[in-house]
Amino acid sequence: MGYTPEMKELIKRVEATRAERIERTRRGEYFPAMTLEEREEVLRKFHPDYKPEGRREVRVGPNKGEVYPEEFVDVLEAYPRIPPERVDFSVLPTHTTDVLVIGGGGGGTAAALLASDNGCRVILATKLRHGDANTVMAEGGIQGADQEVDSPYFHFLDTIGGGHFTNRPDLVAALTRDAPLVISWLESLGMMFDKLPDGRMRVRHGGGTSRKRMHSAGDMTGSEIMRVLRDEARNRPDRIEVMEFSAAVEILKDAQGRACGALLYNMETEEYFVVRSKAVVLATGGFGRLHIQGFATTNHYGATADGLVMGYRAGVPLDFMHSTQYHPTGAAYPEQNVGLLITEKVRGLGANLLNVHGEQFVFEREPRDVESAAIIRECVERGNGIVTPVGRYGVWLDSPMIEELEGPGTIERELPAKFVQFMRYGIDIRKEPMLVYPTLHYQNGGLKITPDAETAVPGLFAAGEVTGGVHGENRLMGNSLLDITVFGRRAGRNAAEYAKGLAEEPGEPTLDHVREFVRELEEAGVDPSRISPMLLPDYTTPDVKMRQLTAHYHGTIR
């Protein structure tokens, strides 16, 4: 295992320039940072968001006329999994509750807890297991201005500046105001934050922060949040019923246009069923598994944009869906690690990015979007990428420099997870560089919400990565775990208040909005074989598919 002989040959070129690069770094000499004009140019020409190819106009629904990535438009402009006329509510099994939460990641679980705190019965329906979500994957941390030298004022400025001043300001105000409340809530639920001996939170800087406010729990911050919230939800079996492997496929509305539940699909028995509720919270997360423009992704298996599709069909407009975050350094080799996040810390500790000739081509601390575009340019335009045996592009991330610059043992101490992940495949990142390429990381946009986590549809709330506007066109590290807890809590509380405030029970559920959407699709001449929500990505090889003579696919599912 390890690198192929051809790749080992190429690594010699990296080694040839290493000593000199280390010397330069020691002298504080870096590859020149780009000017604002250069940044704009490389973004315009090479950032996937700016390329006209691979994007097209959406022809139906509230955002008709806007231009989004093809792969996303393919699921947005698609027919329902089950035609509305085939859904007979009188025969489908029906569960009833006060608040239905869709999505069992951090956002959904926070919403379920707050709805139950506020006196409502909750059903939490989720597609995979409770906690199989992007939330568990977050390593870095969660922001919150709780130190004396910091305040929500600075957190607000950092966030909106990082988002190129495009963020919805009222959402940023809510995010930064609630941040300390959320951190305190997590502390009271028994989360093991990294602390100093006197209990003070150990905080760090993140990209684009003016004050240190990144809280962490080892390099498993998201996992720790998820474990704690899930355990708390399981402590309330009388108030929160969790339905795993139950994917929502459609929002239900009553005759007055209020959300009143969802149509769900048992992933295992392939049966449809109904949950009727007074309010609905959508927290289905992101869309990494659509592999926009063929990019690998850091996201979990279920990140297939389902909530965006359901919300859109129900009439909720999208915000910022033109913008996607690519993390500049995703693993490109070995194949087993492809797409895995390699944290910014590696560059922070001094590792250079190098092309096939072992030469530097970009400053290592450009903003995420600029750095990604520069790597793509080096490979695609300049032909200076390394091509892996399976035909992926990559550039070198020269981790061995770290051991020389920061002293032996630094990698094992500071990057334990990465060290093990590569060692498993015979690559010792203390001695050999890593091969990296930008990877699809975060969906900046999503369903449009108010600071109270309401959508345009009465009774339908949304929170977390499925929403857009909080981060504008670029998200700061540590603001997403915050986003899901702040707005998850707001969604849960407000959904409960809404449910309790309803004068009478919602009316009979209908799928009239889906019928209307189908009519629009037909008018626009959309290919009838396109089906969504996707639910699961399809990684079956073309060979196998060709031989599956009797199997038929409904969308990507067999």
Binding site: I160, D198, R234
Partner: protein, 260 residues
Amino acid sequence: MSAQATKKIEVIASGDRPILPEGARTVPVYIMGKKYLLPETLTIQKAIEYAGYQFIRACGCRGGICGACPTVWRIQGDFQLHFGLACQTVIQENMILAQIPFFPANKAVYDLEALEATGEVVAALYPEIMKCVGCNTCTRACPMDIDVMEYINAAMRGDVARAARVSFDCIQCGLCSARCPAQIAHYHVAQLCRRLYGKYILPRAAHLEKRVEEIQAGKYDGVLEDLARMDHEELRKRYVEREIEPLDSTGWEPEDKTYL
């Protein structure tokens, strides 16, 4: 530049579907006893997909942190049993594997607010930990290399803090509990210990409590409302002018304290 631009490489791999190098070697792998010939460099997870399965269970993060994909295997002809995560383990020749995507484990229901961080509390909720026979099978099964027996023993001794710290990397995959002759649900015990530790043993953050009070008293409401209404030019100006806390900030204070 333009000459180079034409030197584009035809890159074929995309997304997460493995595309194999020309002439990739395949090895026999037995998925639940049935033989498949699969490309040797793939992880168990991708190899199973390559064989033609579509996962519903046993697949979550695909990155070694969610615990959805615990897998057990033997190599044909060898008595030894091995444990690992399908998304993190490369297939081997003559591997006979099965996945355990779910294993029933008893979780105690409790109200954290009403508990104390003591061994008695843990033993009352999970009396079965006292039946540990010290066989260390749990530790040998753990794909995260956690000293599982040690955290169970710490819990038995009433050392909640140690149980919490030793178990910190647990991804709740359940392999330990699948193997334990004493029928302990290790990862639920560990979860209880960590929450007790986080809530009652780690000292509270006093600065956080103070900030929460300030926020609840509305201290920042006005400032945030102003910011939310501010035009871009003014925002940009303030963004550029903000003082940056240095990396080594011991004793550092900003000059402008207006908005603290």
